[in-house]
Amino acid sequence: MSDLVLSARGLARTYHLDRVDVPVLKDCSLDVEDGEWVAILGASGSGKSTLLHLLGALDRPDAGTVHIGGMELSRASQRQLDRVRAGQVGFVFQFYHLLPELTVLENSMLPAHMPGGVGASEGRRRALDLLERFALGDRLGHRPRELSGGERQRTALARALVNAPRVLLADEPTGNLDATTGAAILDVLSDLHRDGLTMVTVTHDQTIASRADRVLELTGGRLQLDDEAAEGADSKAVVESRRP
């Protein structure tokens, strides 16, 4: 229990549209151990992003609790939640979400300036390291629009990691990339995982799931162990057979 990085219990989230209630998450529980890579599989619209936002303190659940590094988020103040987002978790999104006015280096350094971040000088050092590692060392002064999709996502990854978070939350990180570029991102993620990074990735793509330590499936607002995907060899064969 002591090496649990992230722990969620009985998470529920319902969206209220005009007069209709849309219960997206009903009862989700999840434990992520230190250094573990958990993949959550789910069809589009199944609530994966919603779950990730709850885990990352970006949204509050209607019911249930989230613990990050021993802190209970529902009891935390707004300021504490801000600090959790800055220092404890790193987000990577499908659409990169970089600030268009800032350069690669500035984008990846940005979280270091936030309260709870590592600060400007340390942030700069770390950002330069990460960008070098992600083969963006010669792109530091470029704006996002001058980058390819893969480069943008690697910049976003550097930004997510600049404050050395406890856990990386990735929302369909390859969802907007072609297969080759996506595979390259996956290689980077695997690499980070080998170095001990704790990760939760959500996807509807079996390929990602196959690299994870553990795969959960989100269906009907609940998380359950995915038997099929657990046998990595099988799923890999499925994916590879799909390729031309």
Binding site: R83, L102, P115
Partner: protein, 623 residues
């Protein structure tokens, strides 16, 4: 600080914030120009109250203050009084020398009888005198005047060679092929020489031609008749002494004479190429004296040579006031010294009415406040009044004679200054609405920016930016935009204000080059429009055609303005002064700039709060 970085980048990469900067700049510049001109106007009104007036005025209209010489002496004995001088104010009609013919024009004038030396000590009379020497275009007319009035003297002074030269000059055909001696002989023997006509002809060619043709004796005779043609500054001295040609003269305000017009560079243009220069002529002053009971006595008329003209810079004064020696005014207003006779027996003199002055003007030493000076004058006046209290015609006493006033120049001009002060206050109040306009513009523009930046705000929140951090971005942004706008606005306001004179002159006599420039720009835009029109883009085409229409419309406007003889916004007869104030009121300018910054930052807090309220999850959900 990441807010600073973002603010900086937002500013550099977008057109909308520049729009906000421009909006703030225009608002600030507008207020600065309006308030500066108003303040300048007020300053001019206030300082003009002082020109030709002194610091404190003792006045007792109509009946006048007797023994004023003693009062002046007592006043000048005090150490905070720099000088004091008596004056008489009355109204009169001035018959002008123009137009040609018998029916001359008359203007109503305010007549001030003064002792010129003393008056110059108390006021800036000497500095206000317009003519040091006759202007260039006038000299020829003065010369012709001398020839007309003193032809015989001049002819008597002609020597042989000058006669020969005149003959050669005016009738070259008749002396063709003759030697110098022969011409001289012919000139001396001429039947009907008409030397005066020949002198005139040469004079018409100009003073230099005349001077080089005639002998020294003739020129000396000319200068003797009119010393203003000679060396020195007799014109100025005539004004300073109110004497011309040994006669007591009059000095009139520059705008009393219709012949003086303001030229496009602010210089004085005299009608008919200098012909109607008033100091060439005599004018006739007519007054209606009023007796002690308020009845009107026989009108008094007096012909006076115009010694000079003055310009106080206040249209109202320059248009109506004339200065003449005080004794003359005392005469015609019956305020002079008079014997007092026994009503029953007109042959018995029972006393004398001393001469009187309706005003005594006092100037304090430098640095003495007029109010302090007035206190001293009050006291001295009381002593003076009681010293003469037992005389046959005692001076009016304070508190007992309602007509008597001892006022500072500000109090004296209160009816003149107060409305301007009120107007300026009103302007300031009305224009504080500019802060609201400024704020509203900032709210609208920033609201749009927040909308545009919704996703970025979501991103910032997702990486840990607190709400306060988001608010700070937009407050900082508002601060930077408004500071830039204010600085630009102050610069623009300064530029317009200090150049308001040239802008005004440009409007009243618009040059043609801007019209051509604008038409050129319009044609360029048209060409550009045709080229870009092929790409079928709506917005550039629309903006281009609007700009083109605007350019050509303004160009046509400029041409029409020229055709119609320009536009005079600052009509001196409406605004008292003949110059537009062009000094920036820096206190007001700084206040306005700071006010605009404060208003903008307060306004920016509204979209900033909206930005802080953006739900990051929604903001991030879609691309």
């Amino acid at each position: 600080m990441y807010q600073l970085l973002l603010t900086n980048r937002y500013l550099a990469s977008r057109l909308t914030p520049l729009l906000a900067v421009a909006a703030v700049a225009l608002c600030v510049a507008l207020v600065i120009v309006v308030v500066s001109v108003m303040s300048g106007f007020l300053n001019m009104v206030q300082s003009s109250g002082r020109t030709l007036m002194g610091d404190v005025i003792i006045s007792y209209p109509v009946r006048g203050i007797p023994y004023y010489d003693d009062l002046v002496e007592r006043l000048e004995a005090n150490e905070i009084v720099a000088a004091a001088t008596p004056a008489i104010e009355t109204w009169g009609l001035l018959r002008m020398p123009y137009p040609e013919g018998d029916a001359k024009e008359s203007v109503k004038v305010q007549v001030w009888g003064i002792e010129p030396e003393g008056f110059a000590q108390v006021t800036s009379y000497l500095e206000s005198l317009q003519w040091t020497k006759p202007p260039k275009e006038v000299i020829r007319h003065l010369l012709l005047d001398v020839i007309d009035s003193n032809a015989n003297t001049l002819i008597a002074a002609l020597d042989g060679p000058t006669r020969a030269a005149l003959l050669q000059h005016t009738a070259p055909d008749s002396v063709a092929g003759m030697s110098a001696d022969e011409i001289e002989t012919l000139a001396v023997q001429l039947d009907n020489p008409a030397w005066d006509v020949r002198l005139r002809i040469v004079a018409l060619e100009g003073v230099d031609a005349f001077r080089s043709t005639v002998n020294d004796a003739v020129w000396e005779a000319v200068v003797e008749v009119d010393p203003r043609l000679g060396p020195g500054t007799p014109t100025l001295e005539a004004g300073a002494t109110l004497m011309r040609d040994g006669r007591e003269g009059i000095v009139t305000g520059l705008h009393v004479s219709d012949a003086n017009r303001r030229g496009s560079e602010g210089q004085t243009v005299i009608a008919r190429d200098g012909y109607w220069w008033l100091p060439r002529f005599d004018v006739t002053l007519t007054t209606l004296p009023i007796d002690a009971r308020g009845g009107i006595l026989e009108p008094e008329s007096i012909s006076l040579p115009v010694a000079n003209e003055y310009a106080a810079g206040v249209y109202l004064i320059d248009q109506t006031r004339v200065f003449v020696p005080i004794d003359l005014v005392q005469d015609i207003t019956h305020l002079d010294e008079a014997r007092l006779v026994d009503p029953d027996d007109p042959t018995t003199v029972i006393g004398t009415h001393p001469a009187r002055a309706t005003m005594v003007l006092v100037r304090g030493q430098d640095g003495v406040h007029p109010t302090q000076l007035r206190g001293v004058v009050d006291r001295i006046y009381d002593e003076f009044a009681s010293a003469h209290g037992a005389s046959f015609t005692p001076p009016p006493q304070r508190g007992l004679s309602p007509g008597l006033g001892i006022r500072t120049w500000e109090e004296q001009n209160a009816s003149f200054i107060a409305p301007v002060q009120k107007e300026r206050q009103l302007m300031q109040t009305l224009f504080s609405i500019i802060y609201v306009v400024c704020g509203a513009l900032i709210v609208a523009i920033f609201w749009a920016i927040v909308y545009e930046k919704t996703r970025d705000i979501g991103i910032l929140r997702s990486i840990g930016a607190p709400r306060s951090g988001i608010v700070m971005i937009f407050l900082l942004y508002g601060l930077v935009v408004s500071v830039l706008g204010s600085v630009a606005g102050v610069g623009l306001g300064w530029f317009v204000t200090t150049n308001v004179g040239s802008i005004h002159d440009g409007l009243s006599d618009p040059p043609l080059w801007p019209a051509w420039l604008l038409i050129g720009a319009g044609v360029a835009l048209l060409a550009g429009g045709i080229i870009t029109g092929r790409r079928r883009r709506m917005l550039p085409l629309l903006l281009g055609s609007y700009a083109m229409v605007a350019c050509i419309a303004v160009a046509v406007g400029v041409i029409l303005l020229r055709e119609s003889g320009g536009m005079t916004i600052w009509d001196p007869s409406v605004y008292y002064f003949d110059e537009v104030p062009d000094q920036v009121d820096w206190r007001e300018a700084i206040t306005t700039a700071i006010g605009a910054v404060i208003a903008s930052v307060i306004a920016a807090s509204i979209p900033a709060a909206r930005a802080a309220d953006i739900d990051p999850v929604r903001a991030l959900r879609y691309e």
